[in-house]
Symmetry: C2
Subunit: 719 residues, 2 copies
């Protein structure tokens, strides 16, 4: 960089003062300047976010290992084809498999988290086998069956690669409505797996196109002409020796997607494929040799597994937002454009109030998601512990079950709004990088394309918000009947105090106290939940069945879930920050307050609608949000540094830690697009531009550019 | 489709009643059902949107011509590489060139509009020469120079292909701050074009990588050591006979982008490149043979050209939204998922209130953008006509100039918010297609990637909103001094009546009258503009310079511009609908009312903040928005049909006019990804899954799946 800086200086010496302001100022110096502002111990914040020094060091080791592994090279990732990407993604399996078999589970999980931030496509492809396929076995197989498939190689990937065939071309969210059939044939003691219609084609199946030998297949269990609903079966798809499809199995490639092209999503059609009866996973429903069906007495509890997935996606939303913001904020710290009136040096983007407004609230939101993810992970672990220890009849069991239900619903809303938040953050960061955000090499476009699917899979976001809203309505109605609710929705037990409550503070400054903001959210949420419930009840009163009544008030459900979720995020953030001390607390207090005020401002309509805040108070909050953006901006680079992502992990020249963005960007573009022969001049351009006679071209070249006569006049006038 | 339907029926006969509800219902019949609901003449609405029957027929002819032109085939567009796409894009030049030279300008413009909806990448690449390069010549060249370059082949693309080199690596929005220099050398009567630093590298230059022989280059004019600011020069980049770069010209490829990969964006570095003095375009500033610089007396008026570009982007936002909504709404009309409690048939997505809520307001917004685009085009043409006819000193001239300034500012806000609206519409449509929205073949992912750049180019959206906000503040201040403003901001002349005004209607139903909604927007806008101006003045009073004071209140400027723009869109929409009669008016009244109520709801915070609407009124508006979504939903397919886009233009199996989405989607996926040999089994998968001994595999295969013992127990229990 020193050389670039010197070049720049050398050039500037030949310029007039009027031009100097137009020159870029050394971006490395700009970055150093920002870093020097740190008012807290960056390393301590990293430990806090990671969950301790040991975890940070572990993650650093893993980042280094990935960086040095040639298979994980990332610099060419934007230019290789889908086919190359798929192949390379498969090659990475052996590397991760090695670690899976040689390190403790917790450590491996952390490795997966790091890998997911670097290469979400690979992470998903690996996760199809180890998360979905193995997970389906664990949830649905008897211990004997589980042992059988593990011995057969499922855990070690020994001659067996699994996939997970649930979704069909015509059915996504409605799992009970799947069309694939599994018909018991008593004579042969087999099930016949069959795709009856085009829309029953298994679709989007990750790993089906090229990877899997086996699949867990969700199909309607048919025994003696009776349908018992959707169950899970293991079906062999391919011969592991040749990867030829098994008879009756027809597999195709789903092809190009918006992102994550490293995964070989495929479609599968089964035409009367016979599998042994034992390949039905019988942990819950059982089918005997003679075709007797034994259904479980209780509906299986799948809360736990779903919940864990959702909490993971809250954490993932925080992690991906980290990466996006690292790029946009570091770029804003060194990019200069226009000068303010009293300076000859152009102004850093980060110094523009509007740019602070674009990025600082998103930075605060990222911390909110990270703290919430971490708080929820702890809650989840404690809850599962209590659940495991509780015995039927225990008084504790009811309470835990209540909390489980509530967390299940809250996590549905969190999954939806956090993935939406993250997607929006990526796009805002991309736009904040101006034109350069449109380059593939700056990383944000690809990040958007990879992340977008998170809003749809593991529960379509809109459907999840409706589930969360439905739970809020039913909780409200139970509270009205006197039931004590679990803490997350406990405010619905205090409706008397909350409905109609106005914020009464002596000084406007008191509005900045977290307890006031938390109360504000509770008042607003109590009101919107009540309104949604009243609307629901009005539909019931008009004779609608409950399900239809719920559909009719779905907009109110979504609104209630949204406000509940944002209030929840703020509350968890404040809880998390309360455990911190000293300098760290100071900076995090600003960040959490910014988040609180920003989300109130964004939802000002609700706060005014229910008159918790007055117009004057909202105006004050708006001003303070501006002011806090400035405060947080001062620590923006140290905060981003605390994310502790290496340049390799960020993989964007605009997000370089050293700030040397232009040289790295130019290098990347040149390396990815070497200069060379023109690819199609002879074939396409030459015939096009030479299609007329070329006779008089040379004559024209000798003329000056049509200016002579005017030109001479000018001279006379001026001199 | 008949055969698929029969297949389906055949299958259903073998199913139990419990399963029938899970079956897809014939999507073609579902679509027919929707089409039969049309309560207006679809064709008439098409004529209205297109601007008359003749235009519709012209567009249909062009769509057909494109569809039959093998170069414009679109079915493989998602699977070809960037290099193939670039080459094919260049091949299309000759086709369009033929039309350019053989049809009237108006007709050709319409053709470009149609092409832009089909292939935005090609449209841009063609537009670089004919829009940007030729446009720069027209704006900056003397008549003699213009004639010279036209004779040289600029119009006919005869041995000359142009590009437009303004943006630099380190400078986008700040054109006066560009670093490239053009230094006059009197001895040789030449300019020396030079790139002094890395950040001065011309960047993002469309057509530079492979197409252009010449470029208009924006550089700092330096004469005798003095800098005269940014001017425009024509620089030859390549030898048209060989396409080798000229001496001193260094060109590279910018490579992969988020979208529009058919354009060969490049970077250019000039190292002391000499050009004749006449290659400086001297319409405004002139440099004589002896180095005398004559600057124009008046700043050139570029309002016109900028304005036209912005109006075009409002129209484009409407057009692209049409395409996105055609896909999402048609899919929603045939996709069924879950059944309501009193039906065995699954429910159409379009019948879910929440799905109506997701798509109907966006449909209404699309109409708002289309009507506004059309109203503005008319206004623009009238204004330019008046401007052309007016002579200096005319009383009309001042008024036109005032309107021009206002429209220039309003169009800045419209460009920003309409392109943001459209990008958001595409993404919402994509998510509304569930998982299938993530497939490249359903078209929405690519549409997002292609469109995203519109938020940045031709003026970064955020910067444009700030310009619009700045104009609102200065208009307010002029109005306070008694100046009569132009109609678009005329409400600022009625501040006395608007500030503090509450909506007082006898019946809540009166809130649905357009004049009430228009007044509401004016009240709210008057308030936010006033607040922004007060904030600005407070900063002035604290001693800030005007530019700095404007920066400090940029969030308020953005907010004012946002509300002004949405109010404006609604007003223009209502104006446009007022000209329509009969059945068309009926349906468009619902659509425009939905738009009005939806935007109030979205900005409820402002309406409550300034107490124009009471909380109770807002609640009523919320309910009516829900109700109107249902009303508009009934006409959703006829409305989408009125867009009159052929299946070829829409290029998405989910957007098929006949509703036969699943068969077309499956066909597309199969055609794009033919089944064949496994690409890397031998090389990668086999070594991975066979890395352990295979000795006992065969034994295991003979065992049943670990179930025997349990299995027998079960049988005994059950029988």
């Amino acid at each position: 960089m020193a050389s670039a800086h010197n070049r720049l200086k050398a050039v500037q010496q030949h310029l007039t003062p009027a031009q100097v302001h137009a020159k870029a100022v050394d971006p490395v110096a700009s970055m150093d300047q920002e870093r020097a502002k740190a008012a807290f111990d960056i390393r301590e914040l990293t430990y806090l976010l990671d969950g301790g020094k040991k975890v940070t060091e572990l993650k650093e080791r893993m980042m280094l290992e990935l960086e040095r592994d040639p298979l994980f090279k990332m610099h060419d990732i934007h230019d290789i084809s889908k086919d190359e990407l798929r192949e390379r993604t498969m090659q990475k399996f052996s590397s991760l498999l090695h670690h899976l078999q040689n390190e403790p589970v917790d450590q491996f999980r952390k490795r997966m988290e790091v890998v997911s931030m670097l290469d979400p496509g690979f992470w998903t492809r690996f996760g199809v086998h180890y998360g979905l396929f193995i997970g389906a076995l664990q949830s649905n197989a008897t211990p004997g069956q589980l042992g059988y498939w593990f011995e057969k190689g499922a855990l070690s990937l020994n001659g067996l690669v699994g996939c997970f065939a649930m979704t069909e071309l015509g059915h996504g969210s409605n799992v009970p409505g799947l069309e694939t059939t599994a018909t018991f044939d008593e004579a042969s003691d087999q099930f016949i797996i069959h795709t009856p219609t085009l829309t029953a084609t298994k679709w989007w199946i990750g790993g089906a196109a090229h990877s899997a030998t086996h699949s867990t297949v969700f199909a309607q269990l048919m025994v003696n002409g009776k349908c018992y609903g959707t169950k899970c079966f293991v079906v062999q798809l391919r011969d592991p020796k040749t990867y030829a499809c098994m008879p009756g199995v027809n597999i195709g490639d789903i092809g190009k997607k918006m992102g994550r092209d490293g995964i070989d999503n495929g479609w599968i059609q089964f035409t009367n494929v016979r599998i042994p009866r034992g390949n039905m996973l019988m942990k819950h429903t059982k089918v005997s040799r003679s075709g007797a069906v034994k259904e479980p007495k209780l509906q299986q509890l799948t809360y736990g597994a779903l919940l864990q997935g959702r909490v993971a996606m809250v954490v993932d939303s925080g992690n991906v937002s980290k990466k996006a913001l690292a790029i946009a904020i570091r770029y804003a710290a060194v990019r200069r454009q226009f000068s303010s009136s009293d300076s000859t040096i152009e102004t850093k983007l980060l110094d523009y109030p509007i740019h602070q407004r674009r990025l600082m609230p998103l930075l605060a939101q990222t911390f909110a998601m990270l703290f919430t993810g971490s708080e929820m992970t702890t809650m989840y672990n404690e809850m599962m512990q209590r659940l495991e220890n509780a015995k039927p009849g225990d008084s504790d069991l009811d309470e835990v079950m209540e909390t489980l239900k509530e967390t299940h619903s809250t996590s549905a809303g969190l999954k939806a709004f956090c993935t939406w938040n993250c997607l929006e953050t990526i796009e805002q960061c991309r736009q904040a990088c101006g034109g350069h955000g449109y380059s593939a090499y700056t990383g944000l476009a690809g990040m958007y394309q990879d992340f977008a699917v998170q809003c749809t899979w593991e529960g379509d976001n809109t459907i999840l918000t409706l589930q969360a809203g439905r739970y809020l309505i039913s909780s409200y109605r139970e509270a009205m009947k006197g039931k004590k609710l679990s803490p997350g929705v406990g405010y619905l037990n205090r409706l008397d105090q909350l409905i109609g409550k106005k914020c009464q503070v002596k000084e406007l400054e008191d509005l900045l106290r977290p307890e006031i903001i938390i109360e504000g959210w509770q008042v607003v949420c109590a009101n919107v939940v009540k309104n949604a419930a009243k609307e629901f009840e009005a539909h019931l009163a008009r004779g609608k069945k409950p399900d239809d009544a719920y559909e009719e008030c779905s907009q109110s459900r979504l609104y209630a879930a949204k406000l509940h979720t944002f209030g929840y995020l703020y509350h968890r953030f404040v809880d998390g920050v309360a455990k911190v001390s000293d300098d760290l607390k100071l900076v995090l207090d600003s960040v959490s307050l910014l988040y609180g005020l920003y989300t109130i401002e964004e939802n000002a309509g609700a706060f005014l609608q229910y008159e918790y805040f007055s117009p004057k108070q909202i105006e004050f909050i708006r001003e303070k949000t501006n002011a806090l953006c400035k405060v947080v901006r001062e620590q923006a680079i140290p905060l981003v540094d605390s994310f502790n992502l290496s340049d390799f992990m960020i993989n964007s020249p605009l997000g370089r830690a050293d700030g040397n963005v232009y040289e790295h960007y130019f290098d990347q573009v040149k390396r990815s697009n070497p200069q060379g022969e023109h690819p199609y001049f002879q074939r396409i351009i030459k015939p096009l531009i030479e299609r007329k006679s070329e006779a008089d071209d040379e004559e024209e070249d000798d003329e000056a550019a049509g200016l002579e006569s005017e030109d001479e006049d000018e001279d006379e006038e001026e001199e």
